[in-house]
């Protein structure tokens, strides 16, 4: 076990050296601001993959961007060729940095607003509040088809860590006096373990923890379920000023909240 950790640490180190190298080269190649025309060099005319070589780094990054900007939708698994890329992304600096900027923007926005006793912020749970990365690291980072049985076993352990940047946002929103409402696709029979897990991970207070009534929403999409639950909240007098999730289905539909924030998640897609 100890040896494995050392090997993985070394791998992560190699990866960072590569990133730093890339960053350094990039830095060295900053463009001059000459004011002549430079049409000749525009790679608009280049083809992806020089000399026909397939560069997974480039095309998997495009796939990931496509997912985040909601252009690539309804996918079942991460493309096989992107397993290494997505694994490195999830374990590396970039995922944390990408999460950080989203949470920062959310806070910059929240702190400008008037807060009342009924001001609410909606958090999704999986890959938003809690991280299932320990599970997905053992299951191909989304390359393997989703296995409900094995995923539920992981959830029932109740030991998912907090996403650290989301935890920071959560604490800041609480300190602004905003009420936190969790709306998760997890079913009612996982509510207790989820509550315990949230506390273990550092999320100690919330206004509501809404789990999915699987008979009420049987066959309905996450968009419908979450929209309906947000509508119920608003009917109870809450004003949803913000809504954060890792899936577009957390953020689309009706009663979405005044502003939405999309956290990165290239491992799975929920419609």
């Amino acid at each position: 076990m100890q040896k494995l950790v050392v090997v993985k640490k070394m791998k992560v180190l190699v990866f960072f050296v590569a990133i730093v190298l890339a960053a350094w080269h990039c830095h060295g190649s900053d463009h001059d601001h000459d004011h002549g025309h430079t049409y000749q060099i525009f790679p608009l005319r280049m083809k992806t993959g020089h000399g026909g070589h397939y560069i997974p780094e480039v095309s998997c990054q495009s796939w990931r961007l496509g997912v985040e900007a909601h252009n690539v939708i309804d996918w079942k698994t991460v493309p096989q060729d992107c397993e290494g890329y997505i694994g490195n992304y999830m374990l590396g600096e970039q995922y944390r940095s990408d999460s950080k900027i989203v949470n920062q923007q959310a806070y910059f926005y929240a702190k400008t607003l008037n807060i009342t006793a009924k001001t609410a912020w909606v958090f999704d749970i999986d890959e938003t509040t809690l991280s299932n990365l320990p599970y997905y690291a053992d299951h191909g980072f989304g390359v393997e088809l989703y296995n409900e049985t094995s995923f539920n076993k992981w959830v029932d352990l109740g030991e998912a860590p907090a996403l650290p940047e989301s935890l920071k946002l959560y604490k800041k929103l609480l300190s602004l006096g905003i009420k936190i409402v969790f709306i998760t696709g997890r079913p009612l029979d996982q509510k207790a373990v989820t509550a315990t897990n949230l506390k273990l991970a550092g999320y100690h207070t919330w206004e509501k923890l809404i789990t999915k009534n699987t008979s009420e929403y049987h066959g309905k999409t996450a968009v419908t379920y979450k929209s309906t639950e947000r509508k119920k909240l608003e009917e109870k007098g809450y004003k949803i000023i913000g809504n954060i999730g890792d899936q577009w289905s957390d953020l689309l539909g009706t009663n979405t909240g005044d502003r939405t924030f999309k956290l990165p998640d290239p491992m799975y897609y929920i419609s």
Copy 2:
């Protein structure tokens, strides 16, 4: 001029070597799929910027992702620190690849649909159909504040190149029998030069080219202008099955079309 081109080509080459190096290292560090737990290495606990070092590559990439996923909004200019990163991105392989996947997804979607004589697809123009990269390369890739006078001078030249992946989509949609409607924020007095430029760039046919009536939409946002024009289209019997643009303001609002596609653009933001 010739020398400049060679220097820029070398810079681009250095950049690609760095990318390939990074890709190669990444590839070399693909994760094992051991089935033990590996909590110890989760960089969830790491801080952005090792040892306090600022890595523009990582944080500028996060900023760009934040822009594309509509988390970073209402910004005036590219962060100063990201000029080199954004310049390299726009001139490099990644921008082309990112554009390609969006247009591909759009085509995969379009070809599954029933097409009638009134089936329409909306294209934005700047950074969607035509590229202003030759202009922005001379103006700090978005680091400089937008200068209407100098940008209009560039537009009036009428020599913006096509975005090659968008041009491919355009041709494929035409061949499916879909009507193309351009809706641009460019004003009426640039309609003629825009039409000429479109043809020069390879866009030869369209159903409508809608420019902005600046008195009708004075003080209105792009979201309002574009929503209103799409509504007019639908009132004329068109069915908008797709809508592609580089700004979220092309895609949000009402009458957005059955599905929207967000092309990359980290150089400017239009609300």
